[in-house]
């Protein structure tokens, strides 16, 4: 077996389920891989660890990050995207005049600094969000709860659950994807030299991970969930169930291009569309060769599609 280290972007959760599934049910082993998952955290910069050679693969949060790798000449390449829909959302309190997306720009917005450096820039340009309304979000929704006229960023599969349970109401949820933010998410990135030296290893990792995701979504995922809870003892069954349900309902993993080309697929057209939007918003310079940042070589092979229930 080839030893492989994979860094995720957050603590173990259902959003990483496919990878845990592939470890737990022996898919990676069948592809000749011995995978160790290094779970992330608020400050863990997975791409930096990848670039420094501390891990072999890393989970990328969104496509903007990929553009930035290109801009900074960091030899990291995106080889697959497990999510077709970036689950990033805005939430607002219901019934305070913030029920439509058009209402949001005027509200105080709690956003994390990584969003501030990326999506926010586009939101400003595309929808007129304002810097002076931005306040930091440190993965604690109390300030949002305390201020009824505020909005907060979140992940479709997690923050609304906490708000429902602790805040005692169901917030309005706006999936940015629905408003034109067509970034990829939960991508697999690796170093350019890994691709050059051991393309076979990369292919096996991508294929096995895709298989893992199909299994996680559609088959028995108890082992994977047990593993998630072992890595992250705070994780509850309720949260996992909620996430899974939301992922399925919104087609986070398996929708759009994935329906025809299989999970993990990336297309040049969507990349171009997203890049043009971001370049127009000034999030990234228009003159970078963003195509260097990804490759279609390992995906679109319909791997594992047979696992999807008819």
């Amino acid at each position: 077996l080839d030893k492989v280290r994979f860094a995720t972007d957050w603590r173990a959760q259902a959003e990483h389920g496919g990878f845990y599934q592939a470890v737990a049910d022996g898919t990676y082993a069948r592809y000749g891989l011995d995978v160790t998952i290094l779970q992330g955290g608020p400050q863990l910069n997975a791409r930096l660890l990848l670039a420094a050679g501390r891990v072999d693969f890393a989970m990328g949060a969104n496509t903007i990050q990929m553009f930035e790798s290109v801009q900074q000449n960091v030899p990291v390449v995106t080889v697959a995207s497990m999510f077709q829909v970036d689950p990033v959302i805005f939430m607002s309190h219901p019934g305070v005049g913030l029920d439509r997306f058009e209402d949001l720009p005027k509200a105080t917005a709690f956003i994390a600094s990584d969003m501030r450096a990326s999506v926010w820039q586009w939101l400003k340009q595309a929808y007129g969000f304002k810097d002076q309304n931005a306040k930091p979000y440190n993965f604690n929704s109390a300030p949002f709860l305390a201020d009824k006229t505020s909005i907060q960023e979140g992940i479709l599969t997690s923050e609304p659950y906490a708000i429902e349970r602790q805040g005692g109401f169901t917030p309005n949820v706006f999936l940015l994807h629905d408003y034109g933010y067509d970034s990829y998410s939960t991508t697999i990135e690796t170093r350019a030299d890994t691709i050059a030296k051991t393309p076979d290893l990369v292919q096996r990792f991508v294929d096995a991970s895709i298989v893992g995701w199909y299994n996680y979504l559609y088959r028995d995922n108890a082992q994977a969930n047990a593993m998630i809870k072992r890595d992250n003892p705070e994780m509850t069954d309720g949260q996992i169930a909620y996430s899974l349900a939301k992922m399925k309902a919104r087609g986070i993993v398996d929708s759009g291009d994935a329906l025809t080309h299989g999970v993990g697929v990336i297309t040049d057209a969507r990349m171009k569309s997203f890049f043009d939007k971001m370049a127009k918003a000034g999030v990234v310079p228009a003159d970078i060769d963003y195509r260097r940042g990804y490759t279609l070589r390992f995906i679109g092979k319909k791997v594992g599609m047979e696992l999807r229930p008819k």
């Binding site: 603590r11 955290g41 608020p42 400050q43 910069n45 660890l49 929704s141 109390a142 906490a162």
Partner: protein, 265 residues
Amino acid sequence: MIPNRPAIAWRDIGVPLAVLLAALALWEALVRWKNIPPYILPAPSVILAKLIEDRELLFSSLLVTLGVTVEALIVATVCGVALALLIAQSKWLERALLPFAITLQVTPIIAIAPLLLVYLQPGNAVLVCAFLVAFFPILSNTSLGLASVDFGLRDLFDLYRASPWQKLIYLRLPSALPQFLAGLRIGGGLALIGAIVAELAAGASGQGTGLAYRIVEAGFRLDIPRMFAALALISLSGLAIYGALAALSYVLLRGWHESARAQDE
């Protein structure tokens, strides 16, 4: 000939305790009266209940955090004192080394933690972060102490041709003790914060998670009572560390240093 008074009287424990309880009662009353929801500000009773409910989880996390704190404090003490001694040897060494120490002090570790993880293993990164925070006060205060040796005594040691080593052991270290201990009291609290910040920043890997992670996690889940329970544990640890170091100071200084004796004897 040293008075045999007990090191700690009931007042030293009782009074702070009483004041603390009063403050908690006020808090409880405020929360109840204003009907503040627990996710904004939980009442002390709620926090206590949570503390008891989650005791296993929280106390095992506390142990992890305290482990890092103690380790960091020890390393910071050793390094701080060692560097202070080195600096005290000559003005030239001071000029050459102090800028680095200051640079280390003002480097915002949470901001660079992602980088530290690139250079170091996570466990070491946490320790380095906690160490960096606790280190400077100890260095700075010990330096002041070493520089404040009475000139008459310095002359005496010069006269008897004391070696640098002897000056250190018999003169400079005892002279610097009061300031060093004050530095240690500052450093103790900072090591605790350092350990927490470091854990947040450099994150321990899965198995042993400290209180910092519990706090963030609880915040993420909006389990604010648990967050406060974890904060309460941290505060109590801080008080305990301070108390221990203050008692140490008292034992080491009573009898001779002004700061630790009563006047009319």
